[in-house]
């Protein structure tokens, strides 16, 4: 009984928590989990957009089903590869104003947000010494191509602090070629730790418990205040945890459809991607 509840709790945390937390959790716990639960863990990190909203007051099962159909049919139409916050990406959209009616942006993925069809991601890059960010709807019909140039994770789930870090940490070369990566196995974690610019910042980053910052350049009083306002008990709040996760039985419905999709469409996409790499 005790071991079951432990597994349950560990599982729910793993589903909600970050990719990096998930990785560290995986090392300790995953071996004791049954096969189908282990798969659900991996998929929820891989396809966060396919899971419905965890907020029970906003859920609508029919709408979720219809949206999922739309998402999978969009995934049939174009190749939406697996990516994480911290991956280097290039996105091409059709743009009336651009010469050639196509506009490409290259950058590092700094955050992903929203659920289902409304899933969005933001890319950041430094172009001619100017930091620029672009936000995209993942399932927008005007997106022509999504390429992952380097598949990797970073130490944090939200890299918005790169806005206030030195520019070299958010620079991605514009003419970067996609790097080949092993199809099986774990995703590499880039353990770069950044140096922040002097204040003022866009947010009080010292209060966010970031792992990816090496040098803050702050006086002691900022960290003292951060300790004062921190809420270290929140990680033991089981109800809060429960409210942030989608129940497993609801996830099964999703992953069953995804499994089907992976076997047919995604294999085809992978093959064509490999062919392109070999041709180039």
């Amino acid at each position: 009984m005790a071991s079951w509840s432990l597994t349950q709790r560990g599982l729910s945390r793993g589903l909600r928590l970050s990719a990096s937390m998930h990785a560290s959790y995986g090392r300790r716990m995953t071996s004791s989990l049954p096969e189908h639960l282990r798969k659900a863990l991996a998929y929820s990190a891989m396809y966060p957009d396919l899971l419905p909203e965890p907020d029970l007051t906003r859920r609508n099962y029919v709408r979720e089903m219809l949206e999922r159909q739309d998402m999978l049919s969009r995934r049939r139409a174009i190749d939406i590869p697996e990516f994480y916050v911290g991956s280097y990406m290039s996105i091409t959209v059709s743009d009336q104003n651009a010469p050639g009616k196509k506009n490409t942006f290259v950058g590092i993925c700094i955050y992903r947000r929203n659920h289902g069809l409304r899933h969005q991601m933001a890319l950041r890059n430094i172009v001619e010494n100017e930091g620029i960010e672009m936000l995209y709807d993942l399932y927008s019909p005007i997106i022509l191509e999504i390429k992952v140039l380097r598949l990797q994770k970073r130490l944090d789930d939200d890299l918005r602090y790169l806005r206030d870090a030195l520019p070299e940490y958010s620079t991605v070369p514009w003419d970067m070629e996609p790097e080949p990566h092993r199809e099986q196995g774990s995703v590499p974690v880039d353990e770069t730790r950044v140096i922040m610019k002097p204040r003022p910042w866009t947010q009080r980053w010292e209060r966010k418990e970031l792992k990816g910052v090496k040098e803050w350049g702050l006086e002691d009083r900022f960290f003292k205040r951060a300790v004062e306002v921190s809420k270290p008990w929140e990680k033991y709040d089981l109800m809060k945890e429960y409210r942030c996760m989608v129940p497993l039985e609801d996830q099964y419905v999703v992953w069953k459809e995804v499994e089907e999709h992976r076997k047919t469409i995604e294999e085809e996409h992978k093959r064509s991607r490999r062919r392109k790499l070999l041709d180039a």
Partner: protein, 137 residues
């Protein structure tokens, strides 16, 4: 010991700024016009005194009137650090402006930062400005 005690801290609240471009906002001149360069080097960037739209908040491509080196000059906003990010609207790290004259021609002949692609939709207004730009995002 911090300057404010905890009691003082609870006496007033501070909120983060909205990052709108409106009257009194300081902008960064990104072209090589003489007056713009001088103002930026002197550490006195131009201050917005009027925004030419109904909302009085400038977005990308809007015209503004600025006070710069004791003169009134017009400019086009070509980069803004919006607090609310919108899909396909680039968010820049600084509020950029290019100085123009009354007919819409730029005062300088080089622009140092990329311009938003949406500016190209206003080709009839800013034809000269678009032709001297080196890069669009």
């Amino acid at each position: 010991m911090s300057f404010f005690t905890s009691q003082m801290r609870s006496a007033f609240s501070t909120s983060s700024c909205l990052l709108h471009i409106q009257t009194c906002t300081r902008l960064r001149v990104v072209d090589n016009s003489k007056i713009g360069k001088e103002a930026m080097q002197a550490g006195k960037p131009p201050k917005v005194i009027h925004v030419y739209n109904k909302k009085r908040k400038a977005d990308l491509g809007d015209r503004v009137l600025m006070a710069i080196r004791g003169e009134k000059k017009k400019g086009v906003v070509v980069g803004a650090k919006h607090k609310v990010q919108e899909v396909l609207r680039p968010r820049f790290d600084s509020n950029n402006v290019v100085l123009i004259d009354d007919s819409g021609n730029p005062l300088g002949n080089r622009i140092y930062v990329p311009l938003p692609m949406s500016l190209r939709a206003k080709k009839d207004q800013y034809n000269k400005l678009i032709s001297i730009a080196t890069r669009f995002v």
